[in-house]
Symmetry: C2
Subunit: 271 residues, 2 copies
DNA sequence: CCCTTCTATGAATCGTGCT
DNA sequence: CAGCACGATTCATAGAAGG
């Protein structure tokens, strides 16, 4: 049996959307949630990529994903050592549960690298989501150049919907390619995504609808959702990261809100 | 039995790489070629995409892929009405033959849309090519917007190699994301790719090595290869397009060569 | 010749209504 | 009711037209 530690809800500042993190295994925690609740899922599951052989996959995550191994202060994360068949089945399992807790017309966005992209589209369709496309995250040149090859400078978001996706639901047209560089400084997680990217992604979800993130990591999705006015629920297996995310969502949220206010005031003065 | 019509080789201008087009079915024509000849394959096969239902796939290609059907002077192209299972098997078949006629270390680049991308990676691996990555062609925003969705503004190149791909083979590092808009004026084919994109792609292949294009269409690959100094062989099923490509490779080649010379002279004068 | 305005278009898809 | 035909739709960009 999984033991659930519920971290106290992030303290709500005035008018800020609710945000909660559960520390536990996604499959078990999802099973406890009621059906037809969320308007969308945005998440970055462990890729279980990083090599064709099992022996390459079961290395510590830092060895797999960081080209500079020295001075790495980031803890390893779990769930990243499955072979592809097992990974696909596991993805299917949690995505099916995630689908249950979502309401009709909900949108799902799953990060993946090129190697797992086909398996991710399989899992999405096996779990009865309607696969609707691929969004490209262009990380810019400069990423792992190799002679005689094309650069692996992109990651991908496989996205779909629970059933029909009506054209008019308060959501505009969103770009299919996003260009954001990965930040290196102050990263809280090895695979942390740019906050601005996550904020843009949120807009695919009906405004104000609660968002689910079954793999919180350092909490970029939850932070972005909160900044964009969406309530959210996150699930994270690793206790360390549950705390990291919790801190980040509270502190960075306030910092960014202040910055935004300052910027707004400044630009008003300039006008 | 397939009846082969060999269109006379493109007239060679001085020092220009040889370029030849065979009019016939790729599967049959490939079977006639000797093994271990080519250094690379760059091609844009029919996607057989364009709708979830068979009835949508078997429509004329103009109905499937053009939103404005009026004033469309371009002939339809063939081989675009397979269901996904059949498409994957067919892709596997010709890619296996293409692999045979390529030498060790050869590179293959296959265009696909998001819908067929997973099947394309399957076919590549089933035919014993080593799948090495995905290249993104960003067509820019402006492409068929739809409310409440991410834009389908990218197409993809699935690429791989025949066996090992040595780091040092005279090829540098190439970008993983290319941004080129589709031209509208003077298009010779419904799905014509930007020439500059094709010229950049060619650089993944060992300089001077002959290139194979089993689906010529309007001949962008062959034209690009010729401009970049690669000899090439193309195969095209539709007689109309065989001729269109032949013309284009002869005429546009000379035009562009002249332009390049003019530009070079002009910029010399400016310095 | 440059700048602005205008128009055409796109490797679709949704949703309605008909058979 | 399932399946299919058909019309409506979205907007950034290129290229044309106009000033």
């Amino acid at each position: 049996m999984s033991k659930t530690i519920v971290i106290s809800p992030v303290v709500e500042t005035l008018n800020s959307p609710k945000c909660e993190i559960i520390c536990g295994d996604t499959l078990f925690e999802l099973a406890k949630l009621p059906s037809d609740t969320f308007y969308g899922v945005i998440t970055d599951p462990p890729y279980s990529s990083g090599g064709p052989k099992i022996i390459d996959r079961i290395k510590p995550t830092a060895d797999k994903y960081l080209s500079n191994k020295t001075n790495n202060p980031l803890p390893d994360f779990e769930g990243d050592a499955r072979d592809q068949r097992s990974w696909t089945l596991w993805m299917t399992a949690w995505m099916r549960e995630a689908r249950r807790v979502c309401r009709e017309g909900a949108v799902i966005c799953i990060f993946t690298d090129w190697r797992q992209l086909p398996a991710a589209t399989d899992a999405m369709q096996w779990s009865d989501w309607i696969w609707r496309g691929i969004v490209v995250w262009d990380k810019n040149e400069g990423v792992r150049p190799q002679l005689g090859r094309f650069r692996s400078q992109a990651e991908y978001v496989v996205w779909g919907s629970k059933g029909k996706l009506p054209l008019k639901r308060g959501v505009g047209v969103l770009p299919g390619v996003f260009k954001f560089t990965t930040k290196t400084a102050n990263k809280k997680h090895q695979t942390e995504k740019p906050l601005d990217l996550m904020r843009r992604l949120c807009h695919i979800i009906t405004p104000g609808g609660p968002i689910l993130d079954p793999f919180v990591g350092s909490g970029s999705t939850l932070l972005a959702a909160r900044l964009e006015g969406y309530p959210s629920l996150g699930i994270e297996l690793t206790p360390v990261y549950s705390k990291v995310a919790h801190q980040r969502i509270t502190q960075e949220y306030n910092q960014i809100l202040q910055q935004q206010t300052t910027t707004a005031v400044t630009s008003k003065k300039e006008n």
